[in-house]
């Protein structure tokens, strides 16, 4: 638990203000409970005991700021999280778009590789990985560097294996990676059609491409409603008509949705299809 002295609201406000002024990144629209925890954890990690000190370090070094941002990104935890949801994605979405000549998939604001690696394994087992173009965007180079290497935290693999069984995968999850004590490495062959880009999704952006499927699970949790609307607009504008959006099981499009722009395609899972 936190050993940093409780930080006052005024101090958080000052931090948010400085980050915005220095690097043009607005953290005020992120959910405050998790943001505060991430800031406090980062302070402990970097032995910075006051907000004033943190701001000074952020101001002095862009690398330090990247580390700070990297630590704000919440690791999405296990592979095949909600195995039945992945199975539903395979049966109700991927099987349908499998016939296309090329399939374009986007994973926005990825913080760690688990969603990507799960997707790659699903596509490989369906024998369609070769015609997929997968774009993964992240807000720091450090996130990208980790994902590019296919690195997995070994400690989490047992749970991932159980999730994979629930997804009803063809093999054993261990067949896809090389296991070491701390970090394990995904078979690099799986990553060959993946493009990584540094990309900041919180501002209105021009689409850099148009996608058939967007995987965006448990990222919106860390946004307040206004930011959710901005980001979902960006995602919606970057989807082909008829494209699919896969979000977390306890997330919702209700606040963003109007005119049924997206229709839920199956009752039991949060998978939506762009209508127009």
């Amino acid at each position: 638990m936190t050993i940093v002295k409780k930080i006052r609201i005024s101090e958080y406000r000052e931090l948010i203000k400085q980050v915005n002024e220095l690097y043009n990144i607005d953290l005020s629209s992120h959910t405050s409970t998790s943001l505060k925890r991430r800031v406090e954890e980062f302070m402990v990690l970097s032995t910075t005991f006051t907000i004033g000190n943190l701001i000074t370090k952020i101001e002095r070094s862009h690398d330090y700021f990247e580390d700070f941002l990297y630590n704000l990104t919440i690791p999405t935890t296990e592979m095949f999280r909600d195995g039945e949801a992945w199975l539903s994605l395979k049966n109700n979405v991927l099987s349908k778009i499998a016939k296309q000549e090329q399939i374009k998939i986007w994973i926005p604001e990825a913080s760690s590789g688990e969603e990507l690696y799960s997707l790659l394994i699903v596509l490989r087992e369906m024998d369609i990985l070769d015609k997929c173009k997968i774009v993964v965007t992240a807000i720091t180079d450090k996130n990208i560097k980790e994902m590019k290497t296919g690195s997995l935290v070994t400690r989490k693999l047992a749970v991932s294996g159980a999730n994979y069984q629930r997804y009803k995968g063809n093999k054993n999850l261990e067949d896809y990676y090389e296991q070491n004590k701390q970090k394990s490495i995904l078979n690099s062959e799986l990553l060959k059609n993946v493009e990584f880009k540094k990309h900041y999704i919180y501002k209105k952006i021009e689409p850099f491409d148009y996608f058939d499927l967007v995987i965006f699970r448990n990222r919106m949790l860390y946004y307040n409603k206004d930011l959710q609307v901005k980001v979902l607009d960006n995602i919606y504008n970057s989807m082909n008509k008829g494209g699919y959006l896969f979000i977390g099981v306890q997330e919702s499009l209700t606040y963003w949705q109007y005119n049924d722009r997206m229709k839920k395609i199956i009752k039991s899972e949060n998978i939506f299809r762009k209508q127009k």
Partner: protein, 185 residues
């Protein structure tokens, strides 16, 4: 200050107590009740149904950024931490498990304490680890009311005993007394 919010944490051995509490709270109970219970992380359905059998109040697992309503019981969803935000909203998180738990009682209690302050009543029941001890301390720090089930009555007394060792507990009560206390809030 009148309590508007009740948060209950429990783990091993708490299920019976929870269902008994829920069966006794009246249909017109006007507090918001939050349940933070250790549960199997991959089991998404069935728990709400099991708790609902004897409950007079409606139970649901909150969606992220859903509004907190009065007279509703909310169960922390499997594999998410459950937080509370300004504007009377839930927020969920997939941050690392704390005390091997996600949902973590500590994190929910801390978030509730910070937001609801002296309008919060926090109850800790039977459980086999220390999750909730730090959370109870936070409830105290922010002016809420802390209640533990009498450790002698708990099926597993680790959780309640740990809380009592870490912070002052306002009331140590048997289950029947907890129920009365909550009914009279």
């Amino acid at each position: 200050m009148a309590s508007k919010y009740v948060i209950i944490g429990g783990s091993a051995g708490s299920f019976q107590s929870i269902t008994e509490i829920l069966s006794e709270l009246p249909k017109n109970y006007d507090k918001s009740v939050f349940l933070c219970l250790h549960r199997l992380k991959h089991v998404r359905t069935g728990f709400v149904e099991a708790l609902s059998i004897k409950s007079k109040l409606s139970i649901s697992e909150p969606i992220d950024k859903e509004y907190i309503k009065q007279g509703q019981v909310y169960l922390a969803p499997a594999n998410y931490h459950m937080y509370f935000e300004l504007g009377n909203l839930f927020s969920l998180s997939t941050e690392t498990a704390v005390n091997h738990s996600r949902p973590s009682i500590d994190l929910s209690f801390e978030s509730a304490a910070y937001l609801f302050k002296d309008k919060l009543t926090a109850v800790l029941l039977s459980g086999a680890n220390r999750d909730g001890a730090y959370g109870m301390k936070m409830v105290n720090d922010y002016g809420g009311t802390t209640i533990i089930q009498d450790p002698d009555e708990c099926q597993v007394k680790t959780m309640t005993t740990a809380a009592a060792a870490v912070t002052k507990i306002d009331h140590i009560l048997k289950l029947k007394e907890i129920i009365n206390y909550l009914k009279n809030l």
